[in-house]
């Protein structure tokens, strides 16, 4: 075989492999991406909640994107307790002022950041929430204080549409 012919073969071989690899990737991606949230799931991105009936010291739990959201109307003691905590005592330092813009209202995903259970109200060593699954304690600002959870409970995007209605998402 002449040297020229071998080079021609090499080129065909490389080109075929390259086209084949790109083609395979182009087919594999839709197969993987079909498992991501579909258009109908994404469409349920926001929900409006009427909070007029909620009195201080009580929590309303609503479902948003299949997850519970805690809306807590906090008492003055709870606010004071949350605001006097020193940052160095926190596992995931976040100021209560940043978590609850309006101190009376705490809105957060009712999902433990450990493995996704729903923590219980008014329980635990810090008068906030306690996750029964693996024993994580949260304070009155929903911040992780003790246990295996690595992060504070997540504050979703929300706004007061009017005095009585919160729009989550």
């Amino acid at each position: 075989m002449s040297e020229k012919k071998t080079k021609r073969r090499d080129f065909l071989f490389t080109a075929t492999t390259a086209v084949g690899a790109v083609g395979a990737a182009a087919v594999v991606w839709p197969m993987i991406d079909q498992m991501n949230p579909d258009a109908s799931v994404k469409a349920l991105a926001s929900t409006e909640v009427d909070v007029s009936a909620l009195t201080p010291g009580n929590t309303l739990t609503v479902l948003w994107r299949g997850k519970p959201v805690f809306i807590r109307r906090r008492t003055q003691e709870e606010i004071d307790e949350a605001r006097k905590v020193k940052m160095e005592d926190l596992i995931h330092p976040e100021k209560d002022e940043d978590r609850a813009k309006n101190p009376e209202w705490l809105v957060m995903l009712g999902v433990c950041t450990h493995l996704g259970c729903v923590p219980l109200n008014d329980k635990g060593d810090y008068n906030g929430w306690f996750c029964p699954c693996h024993g994580s304690h949260y304070d009155t600002s929903g911040r992780i204080r003790k246990g295996p959870a690595p992060l504070n409970m997540e504050v979703p995007k929300y706004e007061f549409v009017n005095a009585n209605t919160i729009k989550i998402g």
């Binding site: 993987i32 498992m35 991501n36 949230p37 579909d38 799931v41 739990t61 479902l63 994107r65 299949g66 997850k67 519970p68 450990h114 493995l115 996704g116 259970c117 729903v118 996750c131 029964p132 699954c133 693996h134 024993g135 295996p148 959870a149 690595p150």
Partner: protein, 420 residues
Amino acid sequence: MSDHDYRPKSKVGQWFNDRLPLLTLANHLTDYPTPKNLNYWWTFGGILTFCLITQIITGLTLAMHYIAHADMAFESVEHIMRDVNYGWLIRYIHANGASMFFLAVYIHIFRSLFYGSYKAPREIIWIIGIIIYLLMMAAAFMGYVLPWGQMSFWGATVITNLFSAIPFVGEGIVTWLWGGYSVDNPTLTRFFTLHYLIPFLILGLVVLHIWALHVPGNNNPVGIDVKKPSKDTVPFHPYIVIKDGFALLMFMIVFAFFVFYAPNILGHADNYIEANPMVTPAHIVPEWYLLPFYAILRSVPDKLLGVVAMLSAILILAVLPWLDTSKIRSAVFRPLYKQFYWILVADVLILGYVGAMPAEGLYLLIARVATAYYFLHFLVILPVLGFKEKTLPVPLSITEPVLGGSTNLAAARNKESKIE
């Protein structure tokens, strides 16, 4: 394989076999030379094959009545229990069959650990076995989600959330697994699909597992290489077939006890409450066969490290053939290993027990000690033991200690190496 020269007796058989040598395969399986000293711990391979077939048949029939939809799954399972002819029986066999499958596989694995069946030249058999075991856990977990009860839902939530521990891409992976922002209908339908698929993957791997086994042949209680065929072997049929069949009957009595007298004792009452994403059950526990790993997960106070520890506890088994440095296979001739073996058995049972208890106080302490010991056994004790241990003399053949009256007689007569 020494039986390639097999030739069927009938003309039709010869004609067929020349075109597709299935009869040669059948002949290989019947004549397959088996060590004659195999004890009843060796019957669990056959029992496991029975378990797999049972799960596939009952699973197929359940799938004819089950509806994989978040709004209808729970009701369709109740429909199977109350309306479908013998639906209760089929479902109870399937649900308890999973537990029986794991009971048998744990005995099978611990038999291998005792007699050193994972060592050269059987490493590939062992690794295929570990892959089968991983697939079994995946199938069992996803199957438990399908009735869409409280334990289904929250078990699925906790286990899929394990992936969120992966740095950077974890959250994206969890959303991808769910097909949404929480465990919901898309999760249920894909779990049903995979639960249907995995048993057939296992079936394929079982064929490879047996194929790999038939290359070196079975290990045996004495753990020495056996010449095949020889005075030390018997043909698989009828000797092993009868023995396996008898053991299978005994096993089916235990199986039937659970199905007919205690069908819910291994399950959790909370799973008869329909899934509710707003309320987590007070105490989430996985099925009994996953408890030791659950205990390891919870014993580590850090999320990522807990997940890493749990996965390592399983994956460490895959490299066991290289962690165990001892040349001697059977624990019969390893006086120290035998003791550590039983400590490991106790350790795993303790982990299983604390896995079912709340993760606090003394239970947590016990779980931590037991987890540490588990890794110590595989990473330190086994490698060191291979160099330090004084092993007992091993007989030259299975027959020798019986006929030759050698000095190894006492060791070989040990209760694990009875000769039929």
